[in-house]
């Protein structure tokens, strides 16, 4: 795939060319960056760590209508998804998480809503230059410059963006840019690789998950689960804000005679998640739920799709109200293996 250069002055024109599609980019200030539609004619400034709510919202919205119907009628009407969107400034870990979640949503049969949105959304990534305090993407197969799941990767080389197309959609974007961009020379390629190398070196937090997928089910009754989950509040923060969490609940909502069946994010840390109507709950306390969350990401998902369902974005570590740290948990698991 071609590698091009875009001078930063021409960035607003490049954004201007992406007409016809809704543009989303991280906006807000300080720690509370969120993906939000870019106003007409504006060019988003891409200086931020990472967004608080992951871009998974673009392909797997928190609440999504599956179909609509009138009470008492038989026909159901599925929403017609056709609005194309371009997400600017997606971090490589978030894009990689979409590639991971694709495995599950295409397991035996495709989830029509998810894949329709995946098709409509183009991911323009921005390589990391300043990793966060709790990023550990390099330990779980990712990296500040990884292109997995992205359509186009941009790397900030000072006055130029280094553009790498990854998929046809990425190539299409570059073609649309036309004369704004020029061929990237060898030394730019070297400069880019060197920058990615440097950034990877800055990542201090590491996870050694060697042997965990096979070994962790054996720690079922280990007391580490009790000590690790003792302070857990059982809230949904770590799962709602995790880019690879994909669990959802399905509910019917009725307003007068209009009704819809919709699905919304759900969390395995809530107790109703597995509560039987009889009152029995296979995961009764937060100890079982924490154990299941870690086992799912580092063992069950690996059994089914042989990839770890964690991209090391660090959100669950940053945002946990009581500082339950997945890196520390995995360290204890590794020691107890």
């Amino acid at each position: 795939m071609s590698a091009m250069l875009l001078n930063k002055e021409k960035w607003p024109d490049f954004v201007g060319k992406l007409t016809g599609k809704t543009l989303w980019a991280p906006q807000g200030e300080g720690e509370e960056m969120r993906f939000a539609p870019v106003a007409e004619g504006e060019a988003p400034a891409l200086e931020y760590g990472n967004t608080r709510v992951p871009p998974k919202q673009a392909v797997f919205p928190q609440t999504e209508t599956m179909f609509r119907f009138q009470l008492g009628d038989k026909e159901v009407e599925v929403p017609e998804l056709k609005e194309e969107a371009v997400l600017l400034g997606v971090r490589p870990c978030d894009a990689r998480s979409m590639a991971i979640v694709d495995h599950l949503f295409s397991w035996d049969e495709d989830d029509p809503y998810y894949f329709k949105r995946r098709e409509l959304v183009t991911l323009v990534g921005l390589a990391c230059s300043e990793p966060g305090l709790n990023c550990f993407c390099t330990s779980v197969g990712g990296g500040p410059g990884s292109t997995e799941g992205l359509d186009l990767l941009m790397t900030d080389l000072g006055e130029h963006y280094f553009l790498e197309a990854v998929t046809e959609k990425g190539e299409a974007l570059l073609k649309e840019a036309g004369d704004l961009i020029e061929e990237a020379g060898d030394d730019q390629v070297k400069e880019k690789d060197q920058l990615i190398e440097e950034t990877a070196g800055k990542i201090k937090r590491t996870v050694d998950h060697e042997g965990i997928p096979e070994g962790i089910p054996g720690l079922w009754e280990d007391k580490l689960w009790q000590s690790v989950s003792a302070s857990c509040l059982g809230c949904g923060t770590c799962t709602f804000l995790c880019p690879t969490c994909h669990c959802f609940d399905i509910q019917d909502e009725v307003e007068g005679f209009d009704a819809r069946r919709c699905r919304m994010w759900d969390s395995c840390m809530f107790s109703e998640y597995t509560l039987h109507t009889s009152g029995h709950n296979p995961r009764y306390t937060r100890r079982e739920r924490t154990r299941n969350r870690i086992n799912h990401k580092y063992s069950y998902f690996v059994d089914k799709f042989d990839v770890i369902a964690c991209v090391g974005c660090g959100r669950c570590v940053n945002l946990c109200p009581v500082n339950i740290d997945i890196v520390e948990i995995l360290k204890q698991v590794k020691e107890a293996l």
């Binding site: 609509r68 307003e255 009704a259």
Partner: protein
């Protein structure tokens, strides 16, 4: 505000006093607006403040809770709890940005047919001034 906007009022009336008062207003032919949908409850103390929030969500433009005058309560203290509880709710709704004219509370005894007429007129007039409630009304089920 559209010309023919007719406010939609939901009223929780305590069975022993206000419901009887409203009934008296009816039997004595007191002319008062008909926008009020009455829900009979056994005591104003029974009204869970979330009924008010839920009513506003489902399309009410104004909510009224009416009970017995302090001291007349069939269950002795139901209206006292309601007064304190719904007083809190009124402050909270106002602070959250809901027009205070949308939520009223009143004491109407079984013999005060005329007072019921005035309370309904005031509630409907306030809701008409405040306009249709958009705030946190549930959106039409679309996408």
């Amino acid at each position: 505000m559209s010309a023919n906007y007719e406010p939609n009022i939901v009223a929780f009336l305590c069975n022993w006093c206000s419901y009887a008062g409203a009934d008296l207003a009816g039997t004595s032919r007191a002319q008062h607006p008909s926008n009020v949908h009455v829900i009979r409850v056994m005591c104003s103390g029974r009204v869970n403040p979330l009924y008010v929030v839920n009513a506003l969500q489902q399309g009410a433009d104004g909510v009224l809770v009416s009970g017995c005058h302090p001291g007349d309560c069939h269950y002795m203290e139901g209206n006292y709890y309601a007064r304190r509880r719904l007083g809190m709710l009124k402050d909270l709704l106002e602070f959250a940005g809901v027009d205070p004219r949308r939520f009223h509370m009143s004491w109407v005894s079984a013999s005060e047919g005329h007072k019921w007429k005035e309370v309904v007129e005031k509630t409907v007039e306030d809701a008409r001034e405040a306009g249709p409630f958009e705030g946190f009304k549930r959106q039409q089920i679309d996408w």
